[in-house]
């Protein structure tokens, strides 16, 4: 993974409201190589993320618009989305 390429992060529903933004871009440190480490890194950034990810195991994740588990690696990721369990239909 090219560590200088910024990755787009997207947030939806109440996650978006708690964090205060729908979208942002970050160049991630090399140590952030999985969804789990990314969530931990975000939580360190400020209290809004910590609050949004309080029950982190319940938060759903998509990499490049496909559902993934929290142990998924970020290799090849250009867009990572975080959202609550879905309520469509």
């Amino acid at each position: 993974m090219n560590q200088n390429t910024p990755i787009r992060l997207k947030y939806f529903a109440w996650l978006r409201e708690n964090i205060g933004k729908a979208e942002e871009s970050h160049v991630l440190p090399q140590s952030v190589d999985s969804v789990d480490t990314l969530i931990s890194w975000l939580i360190e950034q400020d209290a809004n993320y910590a609050q949004a990810f309080e029950n982190r195991e319940t938060i759903k994740v998509a990499i490049n618009q496909k559902h993934v588990e929290h142990n998924a690696l970020l290799e090849g990721a250009y867009e990572i989305a975080f959202f609550p369990p879905m309520t469509g239909g």
Binding site: K10, W14, Q65, H67, F83, P84, M86, T87, G88, G89
Partner: protein, 152 residues
């Protein structure tokens, strides 16, 4: 034929069914599921609902869902149309059509697609009530995940 549409505007069930059939004469059964907005949820009166969605992923996920249905069941066509935006009690939210030679697969496919959609389609409902100032995000139901698990 596989039809996927994510749109703000209302859909016409009869038109979509006609569209799915086209000029085919070999379809024996079409099952249509329509989801609507109810006016009362958990005792509270709804004034409106706003459906948020993840645009790029919604279409691809619904496409994946239909692909899966077409692999599992003997189908001649499927349609999924899911709306987003501001919806009011009585409004149509989602349409799922499954066409097959025989009714068994049509019924099962429609059931499967709705279960899959409920758990995996990136849409989120926010409810606004007539008797409350604060709107609320709808919580996903564990029963929906359980329903999905029965197919796997």
């Amino acid at each position: 034929m596989v039809v996927v549409r994510v749109q703000e505007q209302e859909f016409d069930i009869a038109k979509e069914q006609i569209n799915l059939v086209g000029s085919r004469k070999d379809i024996g059964a079409i099952v249509a599921f329509t989801g609507l907005v109810r006016d009362i949820t958990e005792g509270r009166k709804l004034s409106k609902m706003v459906l948020e969605h993840y645009p790029e992923m919604a279409e691809s996920e619904l496409g994946r869902l239909e692909s899966e249905a077409n692999k599992r069941f003997d189908l001649q066509g499927t349609t999924i149309i899911h709306r987003y935006g501001e919806l009011f009690p009585g409004d149509l939210i989602v349409l799922v059509l499954a066409a097959s030679q025989h009714r068994q697969d049509a019924f099962s496919a429609a059931d499967f697609m709705m279960d899959y959609l409920k758990s995996n389609a990136p849409f989120w409902k926010k409810e606004y009530y007539t008797d409350k100032n604060e709107p609320e995000w709808v919580n996903a139901k564990t029963s929906d995940d359980e329903r999905l698990n029965r197919w796997f």
